[in-house]
Symmetry: C2
Subunit: 214 residues, 2 copies
DNA sequence: GTCTATAACGAGATAGAC
DNA sequence: GTCTATCTCGTTATAGAC
């Protein structure tokens, strides 16, 4: 194996090890040693390749998030109504429980409290998801009677933050998190009904919304 | 000062110190020494009074959550429609940014990953909030056309988890979190409109909901 | 009940051999 | 580029003086 390939391999192992360690033990279980053990690599190599543990965490988180978002881009692109978005959200939530990117982001976010370096890396990674969600929301809302009331950018952040919260919750109370998601899904039917109103009811709703909005 | 009073005082200082330390530095910045410093108390007293750091965290979290929930009980009781609930939620979110109980719970939840003892304490504390939210939701939903569609227990968990997520988000991206909340608030107007439909539209909606539900 | 001192260990990080 | 060895510091936890 060439030196370059060996370097790349070690860096990859370390990044994977960092992600796996966060998933398994949370941000407070992360250390240079625990990562190195998971990666099957010498501890000192973390500092040689990344300079510090925080730096490794940041790039690992960013790289893995990029990959996950990339993996979903096509599926996001096909979403054009609320029902499809809900289905995708549910699938994403289940698949990410396996791949674990949402959990990792949640843990990074927790570690970001009082650690500006981690905070910035995490913010950048989260923005990757948010940008994707915002695009879809913008598309869907344009065709909906509530479209002129809603703020896609803000909503995208609210959605992402909720995913974070649910994923974090699931670690301590799996059944509770499941019940919460099921309840939301059930309630989202309401939005679908609104979305599928006939033209008359639709106009009436629009008028009412205009009245309510300040 | 009597011995009992002195004991109580020390325990109180340690619990307050634990909460303050979590708020300031996150769960990964918590240690026996950092807590003791914040509390202005000798480090060894943590082990004398609580046995371990985890034990201290658990009881501190539970005690402070009890107090916060208690402080909101009366205000929860007066809520009888969605608009009032939204207002209370917003107030709670802002006041808790100061008192910090939601942040603490979020950090505890993060620390609970792979630490069953913390997980149990956190779950118990969260349930205090959930129970309160569930009561209100049950009351409101009973009077709403979507009431028979919704699951108050599940919804309460979803709401609480979202609060957690937003609060965690706010540490890394304050503006983003604010935008997210504002967008949700705006959209919630939709639910209010549905809630205030006339009797005819209300019956139509109910019929549609029945059709959608599987 | 509270303190000092200390044991036993894990942390981040670096130096230097290979 | 990777390893071993090591430094320095912070960690949990305990023993024992007061």
């Amino acid at each position: 194996m060439s030196k370059d390939a060996r370097t790349a391999e070690t860096r990859r192992r370390l990044m994977d090890g960092a992600i796996d360690t966060i998933r398994a033990h949370g941000i407070s279980g992360v250390s240079a040693r625990s990562i190195a053990t998971t990666a099957g690599v010498n501890q000192a190599l973390i500092f040689y390749h990344f300079g510090s543990v925080d730096e490794l965490l940041g790039t690992a988180c960013l790289t893995s998030t990029k990959a996950r978002v990339e993996a979903y881009r096509d599926r996001f692109a096909t979403v054009s109504d609320l029902r499809a978005l809900l289905n995708l959200g549910r699938a994403l939530q289940q698949e990410e429980r396996a791949a674990g990117n949402v959990t990792v982001l949640a843990q990074m976010l927790a570690g970001a409290q009082g650690d500006p370096k981690l905070a910035e890396a995490t913010r950048t990674a989260l923005d990757l998801w948010v940008a994707e969600i915002e695009l879809v929301l913008r598309r869907i809302l344009a065709a909906s009677p509530v479209g002129e009331l809603a703020d896609p950018a803000g909503l995208a952040r609210a959605v992402a933050a909720s995913f974070i919260g649910v994923e974090l919750w699931a670690a301590a109370d799996p059944q509770g998190a499941e019940d919460g998601l099921a309840a939301l899904e059930q309630l989202a039917v309401l939005a679908e009904v609104v979305d599928n109103l006939g033209p008359v009811a639709r106009r009436a709703l629009k008028a009412k919304l205009r009245g309510v909005r300040q």
